[in-house]
Amino acid sequence: MVDVAASPSDAVVLRRDEAGPAGAKPRHALSRRNIFLYGTLIVVALYYLLPLYVMIVTSLKGMPEIRLGNIFSPPVEITFEPWVKAWATACTGLNCDGLSRGFWNSVRITVPSVLLSIAIASVNGYALANWRFKGADTFFIILIVGAFIPYQVMIYPIVIILREIGIYGTLTGLVIVHSIFGMPILTLLFRNYFTSMPEELFRAARVDGAGFWGIYLRIMLPMSLPIFVVAIILQVTGIWNDFLFGVVYTRPDTYPMTVQLNNIVNSVQGVKEYNVNMAATILTGLVPLIVYFISGKLFVRGIAAGAVKG
C-alpha cells in the first residue's frame, strides 16, 4: 500500500477528483481505494474550511440579510461596513474606538515579548548546550517540568511580584510574563538545535580564542537562523493568541486584541451585530493566519519541535 504509483491516468482522475466530490463518474483507473481515500480527505477538508468560510461570508453581509438568510449562502450584496465598524467604532464598555486599539496593544505586546523571550532563551539554550556547568541540568529539568504546571497555580504569585516591582497592569509586566512562560519551550528548542551542531566548530572557535559571547554572536547566531525563524513563528502566534495573561496582567486600556474581541462579541448590551462580530473575529485571527500561511512547513517544524522532545 505504500507504493501507490501515480500513473498518468491516475493523475487525471485525481485532478478531477480534486475539483469536487460530485465530479466525474468512476473510471477504471479510479480505484475503490482512491475514491475512499480522496473522498474522506476532501470531506474532512471541507469540514475544516467551513468555519472560515462562514466567518468570511457573514462579515460581508448586512444584518437584514443575516436575519433572513442562511449562514452558508454567499452574500447577495457585499458590504465592507462591518469591517470598518469592527476596526474603528465597535464598543467595549464606554470606549467606542473599535478593535484598532486592541490591535496596536497586541503589536506593542507581541514585538518586545518575542524579541526578549528569544534573546533570553537562545543564549540560555546555547549555555546549556556548549557551556554546561554543574547544576545547569537540574534547573533545565525544573524548567521543562514547570512548563506543564497549570498557569493558574502561578498567576497570583506573579501578580504580587509585579505589584512589588510596580509594573502590574503595564505592558512591560505582560512582556516579562510572556518571556517567562515562553522560556521552557524555547530553551528546549535552542538547546536541542545547538547540541546537534558539530562539536568541532565550537572547539575550533575556542582554540582561536573566542569566548562565550564571541562564539554565540559570530558562529552560533549566523548558523542557526532557521531555528530563530521557527522560534519567531512559535512566539508570534502564541503571544498574539494569548488571552489569560492579557486579561490578568493588563488593564482595560491596554487589553490585547483577543481580550477586547471577546468583550466586544460577548457584551450583553445593545443589539447583537453578528456581521461586525465576525469581521472582528477574522481581524483578530488574521495575524496568526498570515504567519501560518506564509511560513508553511516552518510552522509545522516549530510546533513539532515544541511538542516532541529532541
Binding site: 500500500m1 501515480a6 481515500l37 475544516y48 546549556l128 517540568v145 506543564f148 489569560l244 513539532a304
Partner: protein, 297 residues
C-alpha cells in the same frame, strides 16, 4: 561557606552562569516558588488579600462541597475523555491517510492544521456563531424542511460541554495529526515491505506493528493533550462564558473567577492546587521515565 576559598569553582564558566540567570530565576522563583506559595496559601482563609491564617483543609472541604466545582470537574472529565479519544483517533487516521503517498498532501495538511494557528477565543466565537440556534446550523436544517430538527448544544445545559468539545477538536486535531505523521514517517519502509510480503492486511499492520512501534510518539502526544485539557479556559469564556447557568464551567475558570472576581483567594488557591495535583499525576511518571531513564542510559 566562604566563597573566597575556592574562587575558581564559582567563577569558572562565569558567562554561562550569567546567561542562565533568567532560567534559574524562572525555575526557582516562579515555577518552584510560585507553586509552593500557592499551595501554602491554599491552607489559609485568605479573602481579598493573601493572609497567613491557617485553617487546615477547610478550603478543600468547601471546594468539594461547592456544586460549581463539582460541575467543573465533571465537565473537565467529559471534555478530557472526548478530546483524548477523538483527537488521537482522528489525528491518527488523518495522518495515516496523508501517509499514503497521496497528491496534494501539503494542501490537505495546511487545511487540517490552520485552525491550530487561531486562538481559542477566535475558535470559540466562530463556533458560537455556527451553533447559534436562531441563525446557525439548526436554522439551516430547519429551513430545508426538517422543522423539528434540534441542534443547540450551547443552549442546552445537559450537552453544552459537547458543543465546546466540537470546537476544541476542530482547533486541535491538526496538531495531533502532525505529530502522528512525524511518527509514521519515522517508521522504516522495510517494515511495510516485510508486512506486505507476508500478506498482512494494512489495517492489521497499523494496529499490531506500526502503532506499537510508535509508542514514544503516543506517550508524548498523550502528555501534550492531557496538559492542554487541564488548561482549558479561553475556549469556554469565548463560547459560553460558563453558561447556560453554570453548566459549562471548568476548573481554570473557577480559579480565575474566585481569585479576581469573588475575592475569595483561598478558594482560588485550593482549586488551583487541585489542578496542579491532577497534572502531577500525569507528569511525574512521564518525567521520571523521560529524564530519569535517559540519565541512567
Amino acid at each position: 561557606m566562604s566563597n573566597s576559598e575556592r574562587p575558581n569553582q564559582l567563577f569558572r564558566n562565569l558567562n554561562a552562569k550569567i546567561a542562565s540567570i533568567p532560567m534559574v530565576l524562572t525555575a526557582l522563583v516562579v515555577f518552584v516558588g510560585g507553586t509552593a506559595w500557592t499551595v501554602l496559601y491554599s491552607f489559609t482563609n485568605s479573602k481579598l488579600l493573601p493572609r497567613l491564617n491557617f485553617v487546615g483543609l477547610d478550603q478543600y472541604h468547601r471546594l468539594w462541597a461547592t456544586p460549581r466545582w463539582l460541575i467543573s470537574i465533571e465537565n473537565l472529565l467529559i471534555y478530557g475523555v472526548i478530546s483524548l479519544v477523538f483527537s488521537l483517533v482522528i489525528g491518527f487516521v488523518l495522518a495515516a491517510l496523508l501517509d499514503q503517498k497521496i497528491r496534494f498532501e501539503d494542501t490537505f495538511r495546511t487545511i487540517f492544521l490552520y485552525p491550530f494557528a487561531l486562538s481559542f477565543i477566535v475558535t470559540g466565537l466562530v463556533w458560537q456563531w455556527l451553533l447559534n440556534p436562531d441563525f446557525g446550523i439548526q436554522r439551516v436544517v430547519r429551513d430545508l424542511g426538517w422543522t423539528s430538527f434540534s441542534f443547540d448544544p450551547l443552549y442546552n445545559s445537559s450537552i453544552v460541554i459537547y458543543g465546546i468539545s466540537i470546537a476544541a477538536l476542530w482547533q486541535g486535531t491538526g496538531l495531533i495529526m502532525c505529530l502522528m505523521l512525524a511518527g509514521l514517517r519515522g517508521i522504516d519502509e522495510d517494515i511495510w515491505k516485510a508486512a506486505r510480503v507476508d500478506g498482512i492486511p494494512m489495517w492489521k499492520t497499523y494496529l499490531f506493528i506500526v502503532i506499537p512501534m510508535m509508542r514514544p510518539v503516543f506517550i508524548t502526544t498523550l502528555v501534550i493533550i492531557a496538559a492542554g485539557i487541564v488548561k482549558v479556559y479561553d475556549l469556554v469564556v469565548a463560547q459560553t462564558s460558563g453558561g447556560p447557568g453554570i453548566a459549562s464551567e471548568v476548573p481554570a475558570k473557577y480559579v480565575y473567577d474566585y481569585m479576581f472576581f469573588a475575592q475569595n483567594l483561598g478558594q482560588g488557591f485550593a482549586a488551583s492546587t487541585m489542578m496542579l495535583l491532577s497534572v502531577m499525576i500525569v507528569i511525574v511518571p512521564w518525567a521520571y521515565l523521560e529524564f530519569g531513564g535517559r540519565r541512567r542510559g
